[in-house]
């Protein structure tokens, strides 16, 4: 259950951004997760409120976008879908591939509530 650690890191990062921009609250946090990041989206969603309690992100909506697993073949050059434990080329079957999508664990955007200066 390392998702709590990840949620805490996320909240810390978002709090930093909120402070940097002088935001009062965070509306939305969008995170892109690939299946190969080793973080389970559902568990992160459950852990998030615990980590966010008492912070400016407390009432934020956490939007978790799942990235597909895609590999590019070093042999034939094709880019195809793959699964977490079969990262082989969907075109020629070779295992010499590079993962081009699926290992992301990225904070994409945050929506901040920034009070206007001087009213």
């Amino acid at each position: 259950m390392h998702e709590l650690s990840v949620a805490q890191a996320l909240v810390e990062q978002v709090e930093g951004l909120a402070a940097e921009h002088g935001a009062a609250n965070v509306h939305l946090i969008r995170v892109r997760i690939g299946p190969l990041a080793g973080v389970v989206a559902e568990l992160l969603a459950h852990a998030f409120p615990l980590a966010a309690a008492g912070t400016r992100a407390e009432h934020a909506r956490l939007d978790l976008v799942e990235a597909p697993i895609r590999v590019r073949c070093q042999t034939c050059g094709a880019e195809t879908d793959a699964t977490a434990n079969r990262l082989i080329c969907g075109a020629c079957g070779d295992w010499h591939t590079n993962v081009v999508s699926g290992e992301e664990l990225i904070l994409e955007t945050v929506e901040l509530d920034i009070p206007e200066h001087g009213g």
Binding site: E12, N85, L87, I88, H96, N98, E104, L107, E116
Partner: protein, 268 residues
């Protein structure tokens, strides 16, 4: 504003449109790794190792696959030629650090309490309790766990995943995140293959290849001393490579660091 004029937004494509942003709300594009703080600390640790010419290796596996026994045998074989230090990670007890110290090398035990993995900050704290002068290789024995340790960079140069023959040859298919991030896979306790008819090392290797991982797969028994020569030769090769990198002012991240994610971030 899109939320007032309704430009081109239909019930069919509404979910693809930008969400209406409340007055005063500002959308910030971030595109940073979620574990940025850990990753920054890991880079700091790695710079620390490189400045001292230390090769740092992270050992990961399920509990009981023989990480500590491998370290005992490795230290016994190398301690006359190399200076080795070990960081041990466990939920409780000093037992593993005691076993390493009995081999006559420095060991620091991180007791994680309930945490299922080590992170870069824990390793950094441990480094402050260790004398790293003259150390050639620092081993970090991660918490026995095939899941969580795979997601945290500690500042190591290389990851090693152990798979003991009592665990089943399909473990790489079941725990792909761990095994695709290994720079070397060690099939351990091979002396038991004689009494186990259901572990096929070739099948384990095939599962690792299906993770697009070209890492060397070594078979050994630390207790019986089988296969140790190839493992020690691999270590010497990696140490030479680290010394070359240090000379050239280069460094190396373990393959676990998602290159694709970084690429994606840069392109986005």
């Amino acid at each position: 504003m899109c939320d007032t004029c309704g430009c081109n937004v239909t019930p069919g494509n509404r979910k693809f449109a930008y969400k209406p942003v409340e007055p005063g709300a500002t959308t910030i594009s971030v595109l940073q790794g979620l574990l940025k703080k850990n990753d920054d600390q890991a880079e700091h640790n790695r710079a620390h190792f490189d400045a001292r010419g230390i090769l740092t290796i992270n050992l990961m596996s399920s509990p009981g696959s023989g990480k500590t026994a491998l370290l005992e045998a490795t230290i016994a074989a190398l301690k006359s030629q190399l200076k080795i230090a070990v960081i041990e990670g466990d939920l409780e007890t000093e037992n593993d650090a005691d076993r390493i110290r009995a081999q006559g090398v420095p060991a620091y035990q991180i007791v994680t309490g309930t945490a299922c993995h080590l992170d870069a900050h824990m390793v950094h704290d441990a480094l402050h309790h260790m004398d790293l002068d003259g150390i050639d290789i620092l081993f970090v024995e991660n918490v026995g766990n095939l899941v969580c340790p795979a997601s945290f960079d500690l500042g190591q140069h290389l990851n090693i995943a152990l798979l003991s023959v009592t665990e089943g040859d399909d473990k790489p298919a079941k725990y792909p995140v761990m095994f695709r991030g290994a720079d070397a896979v060690l099939i351990t306790k091979t002396d038991l293959l004689a009494v186990l008819d259901d572990f096929d090392p070739a099948k384990a290797e095939r599962h690792v290849r299906e993770l697009a991982n070209p890492a060397p797969i070594l078979r050994l028994s630390a207790r019986k001393g089988e296969g140790m020569t190839a493992w020690l030769a691999w270590l010497f090769g990696q140490l030479a490579e680290q010394r070359r990198r240090v000379q050239a002012g280069e460094t190396q991240r373990p393959v676990i660091q998602p290159e694709g994610a970084r690429l994606h971030t840069e392109l986005a």
